[in-house]
Structures are given as C-alpha cells and as structure tokens.
C-alpha cells in the first residue's frame, strides 16, 4: 500500500535505526455528503453499522498516512516509526484525520 515501512512501535524487528530524521505528519479534513447523511439518518432509527462513514474515515486516514509518507520520503527516510492517529471534529459534519510519526533511516 505504502512503499515505506510503517510501524507504531518504536523499533522495527530485525532492522536497526541508523538515524532519526524528525517528526513527519499528514492531515486531511473531510466532510460527509448529503446522501450519506440521509442514509445515516435512516440508520439512526434501526441502528447498526454506517458503512458510508466507515469508508469515508478509512479513506481519509489513508490519505493522511500517504501525505505523511510523502513528507518522510522527501526527507530521505525509508521508514516511519511510532505512528499515531488522531481524529478531531472541526465543525459539525467534518472531521480532521491526522497521522504523525518519526521518520527514520533503517540499516
């Protein structure tokens, strides 16, 4: 999926970290659209999974991760360790997905 090694642990098994290059980050703000909102309104009567939102958020998170990876590649890294995700709702119906980690060079 991404051509860098990504982990959310501090080390990568079997590899040694040669250099730390610093923090890299990627974010995206996404809004849901009306069609999905109507479906969500219906789902709010019977309950259950909101597939539209699940997809929306996982796509957005992937986008944030990709941006983070691009930044890491520019720095010349071949891995990002200790990756963390965070989500915040900016306004009603829109959320910011944020991914950050430490870019490193592995042996």
């Amino acid at each position: 999926m991404f051509d860098l090694i990504l982990t959310n642990t501090e080390t990568v098994p079997g590899r040694e970290i040669v250099r730390h290059l610093g923090l890299v980050q990627g974010s995206t703000v996404r809004a849901k659209h009306v069609g999905r909102d109507i479906m969500a309104g219906l789902k709010n009567i019977v309950g259950g999974e909101l597939k539209g939102y699940t997809e929306l958020l996982s796509d957005a998170r992937e986008e944030a991760t990709r941006r983070m990876c691009e930044e890491a590649k520019v720095m010349g890294a071949n891995a990002v360790v200790n990756v963390r995700f965070s989500t915040s709702s900016v306004t009603a119906g829109a959320s910011e997905l944020y991914a950050y980690g430490t870019a490193v060079i592995l042996s």
Binding site: I5, L6, T7, N8, T9, E10, T11, V12, P13, G14, R15, D37, A40, G41, K43, N44, I45, V46, G47, G48, E49, L50, Y53, T54, L57, S58, R61, V83, R84, F85, S86, T87, S89, T91, A92, G93, S95
Partner: protein, 147 residues
C-alpha cells in the same frame, strides 16, 4: 397526536430492529473472534527479539449508529443518571468489531501477531447541538511474523 404516533412507531421500529441487529452483530463477533483467535494481539510497545524482520501497520475501523430506541431511552435515563447499558453495548460492539477487522487485515498479510495495539474513539454528532448519532472506533497496531 400524529407526532406522538410517529414517535411511538419509530420507537417500536428502533426497539425491534435495533435488538435484532445487535444480537446478530454479537453472534457474528463471537464467530469472527473464535476464527481469529490464533492471531496474538498485545498492547506492549517493545517487540520480542525472536521475530522475522520487517513489520507493517494494520488497522480496522467501524462506525456504529445508535438506534432510535436507545436514543430516547438514554434521554430518559439521563434524568436519573446511572449506568447506561444501551450505550455500553453500543461501544462494546464497535470496539470488538474494530479489533476483528484489524486482525483480519493482519491475517491477510500473513502476520501472526499484532503488537502495540491502540484504540481510538470518536463520537460522531449529526448536528452541532444534537446528541451523537454514532461512534467510531479505530484499532491499529504493528503486525509482525513470529519465528
């Protein structure tokens, strides 16, 4: 009067379908969890030394909506405070589902353990001042192959 009827009908639909949905979901979760029980999930940060090189991040997320019955029942319950069982089960479903999806992804890439599992919770409101419409649970971790 017609407003009351609408609310009553919605409550009934919410109660019946919400319960059915929830029971089916719990059954499915039970089955999936048994199927995926061979994949180890740990929330330890440090990796043991005896594993194959390289690792990959895996994640799973799910948004679960509250049903109408839960919404109204919770509104009434909040007058008295105490335990909100209906929301407990909602969050439990979401959490277990997210972990199951993460494990499925780990299995798909041939890993047999997930380290440093983290869970992230987001509550999704529909309108600014309205009670929340659902919860999002994200589970993520580092998938590795043990030797």
């Amino acid at each position: 009067m017609s407003g009351l009827i609408t609310v009553a009908v919605l409550l009934m639909i919410g109660l019946v379908f919400g319960q059915i949905n929830e029971q089916n979901h719990f059954k499915r979760l039970q089955r999936d969890e048994e199927e995926l029980s061979d994949i180890l999930t740990v929330n330890l940060k440090t990796l043991p030394l005896d594993m194959q090189p390289n690792a990959m991040m895996v994640s799973g997320n799910v948004v679960v909506a509250v049903d109408y019955f839960k919404k109204i029942a919770t509104g009434i319950k909040q007058l008295f405070g105490g335990r909100l069982r209906s929301y407990e089960s909602l969050v439990e479903r979401a959490r277990r589902e997210a972990i199951v999806r993460m494990k499925k992804q780990a299995r798909d890439i041939g890993a047999d353990a997930v380290y440093n599992v983290r869970l992230e919770f987001t509550s999704m409101g529909q309108q600014p001042r309205q009670a929340f419409g659902g919860v999002e649970l994200l589970a993520y971790g580092t998938a590795v192959k043990l030797k």
